[in-house]
Assembly symmetry: C2
Homo-oligomer: 347 residues x 2
Amino acid sequence: MARNLQVAVVGATGAVGQQMIKTLEERNFPIETLTLLSSARSAGKKVTFKGEELTVQEATPDSFKGIDIALFSAGGSVSQELAPHAVKHGAIVVDNTSAFRMDENVPLVVPEVNEEDLKEHNGIIANPNCSTIQMLVALEPIREKYGLNKVIVSTYQAVSGAGAAAVDELHEQTKAILEGKEFTPSVLPVKSDKKHYQIAFNAVPQIDKFQDNGFTFEEMKMINETKKIMHMKDLSVAATCVRLPVATGHAESVYIEIDNSDVTVSDLKALLQDAPGVTLQDDPANQVYPMPADCVGKNDVFVGRIRQDLDEARGFHLWVVSDNLLKGAAWNSVQIAESLIKLNLVK
Amino acid sequence: MARNLQVAVVGATGAVGQQMIKTLEERNFPIETLTLLSSARSAGKKVTFKGEELTVQEATPDSFKGIDIALFSAGGSVSQELAPHAVKHGAIVVDNTSAFRMDENVPLVVPEVNEEDLKEHNGIIANPNCSTIQMLVALEPIREKYGLNKVIVSTYQAVSGAGAAAVDELHEQTKAILEGKEFTPSVLPVKSDKKHYQIAFNAVPQIDKFQDNGFTFEEMKMINETKKIMHMKDLSVAATCVRLPVATGHAESVYIEIDNSDVTVSDLKALLQDAPGVTLQDDPANQVYPMPADCVGKNDVFVGRIRQDLDEARGFHLWVVSDNLLKGAAWNSVQIAESLIKLNLVK
C-alpha cells in the first residue's frame, strides 16, 4: 500500500483531537487529505497542519465519503451516531470513546499487545481507556514470558482525561485557593453527575459514574478491557481509580502475581528494558523513577519502582506512568492506523 | 488519678507540635503546667494556650525535671538525645518520631488497636507513622471480627507529612507554575536526599529514602509497624507510598484479604459504622466518599468505597482518609496520653 490516505479526525478541536492532529504530523502519517470534523458549535475554527491552515467542518453522516481512516474522539454519543455511517462509506473507524469497546465484533487494540486482533475488524476498531492502555503496555511482556494471574491497580489520574474544561477548572480553582477566593466546582469529578467536588489540593476517588456493584465505570473499564485485550477471561483484575490535581500524566501503582515463582526484579528490568513502547526508569539509589510531570509530550510508557513482594515470591509491584492524551489516546489511535497500513488492512 | 499533670511538648513550634498544643486545649487535657520546648533557634517564640501566652524554651536534658508526660515531635535525633533524659527524670515520653518505633522495649500504640500494650512501657511510648495509624484504625475491627491475611496499600499522601517547609514549597511552586515562572525544588521528596523534584501538579513515588530492597523507609514503616501493632508477625503487608500536591490529609487505597469467606460489604459497613475512631462515608449512589479536603481539622479516620473484590470472595477494597497531622500525629499522641491516665499508668 503505497498510496497516501484520506484521513478524517472527528472531534478535531478537543484535547485529544488536537493531539491526534499533532501526532499525525509528527509521525509523517501518509495523508493525501486531512479532513477535520467537529460539532456544529466548533465548525469554522482554523487548525494548522503541516504549515497549512485547515477549516474544521461540521461532522455529518455524509462527511465520510471517500475517507479511508476516521479517527473519532468526540464523545460516545457522536461515535454511536456517526461511526456506522463512516463504515458504510468504506472508512475504517478508530474510535477513542467507550462506545464500542466491549462489543464482541469490535477489536480493542493496544498495538504492543494484540495488534493481530486488527485482522478481525468489521470497520470499527476501539481504542481502549487511557489507564488500561499504559498498564497493559507494561504488563504484556511480563504476561508473555512469565504468565499473569492477578492484577490489583490503584490509579493516580490527571484531569485532562475529563477534557479541556477539567484542566481549566483545576487551574482556576487552584488560583482561587491560593488567593483565598471562593469557588464553585462544576466539572469534576464527572460533569454529568449530580455533585461536583474540589479537585485542587485534593484527591477524588471517583472517575466516571458509579455502577451498582460499587465500582465506577472507569474501574470496570480497566477490569473488562484488560481481560478482553489480553484474551484472558479468567484473569483476576481489580482497580481503584482516583483523580488528582495533575493536568496531564496518569500514574498507576500496580501489583501483579505471575505464574513463574523464580523470577527476580533484575529479570523484569531486563525484560522491560527492551519491551516495545516502554522506557524503564528504575534506579532507586539515584532517585530515578517515573513521574507525571516528566512524561508529558512523550509517546512511551514509563515503568519504575519494580519490587518483589516481601511475602509472595510471585508478587511484584510496579509504578507505571504515561501521557494520558498520547499513549492513552491520540498516539495509540494513530499507532492503530499505522498498524492497519503495516498489516495491509487498508484497501 | 485526679491531679493535674506537668506536660511538656518538645518541638512546640513545628507543624505537629502546634497541633498537639491545640489538641491538648480542645480535649481539656488535665494540665497543671504546660512547658513548651524547642531548638535554640525557635526558643523565645510566644504561643497561646488557653488564652495565656507561653514562651517557648530551649529543650535541654534538664528541661524535664518534674514533667509527668512529654510529647516529642522534633525529629528523630532530638528524641534519641533527649527522651532518655526525660525518662530519667521520671517523665513518660510519647514520641512521634521513628526513633524508637521498632525497639522491642517500646510499645507502638494506636489506642483503638492496642491500648493494652501501654502497660508494658518502660518510659517511652512510640506514636506510629501517620499512614500506618489511619490504616489500622480502619482495619482493626475487621481483623478482630473476620481475621486478616493480607494487606496491599497504595497511599496518596499530603506534603505536610514532610513539615511546614514542604507545605510552603507546594504553595510557592504551584503559584510559580500558574504564573509561568521558574522554580527550583529544594525540599521534596526528601530534604536530606540528593535530588529534589517538582511536587505541584505532580505525583512523586518516594516518601523518605530508599532501602536496598527497593522499598522506601516510609513503605517499610507501614509494613513493619502494622505487624508490630497488630501483633501479627506473619501478616502479609505491602505498601507503595506516593506524595501528592495536597497540603493536609492522607488517603489510602487498601486491598485486604480476610479469613472469613462469607462476609459481605454490608457486614463491613455495619462493623465500621460503629467502630471507634471511624466515620463511615460510603454511599456511592449519592457520591459520598472520603476526600483529603474534607478531613482537615477532624480527629476521625474516614472510610468509604468499600467493595468486595470481583474475583476473590475474601478480598475487599477500601478508601481510607484522615488528617495526617491529627490522627496521624498530634491527636494519636494526645490520645495515648489520655489512655495512660485512664489505665492509671501516670504515677
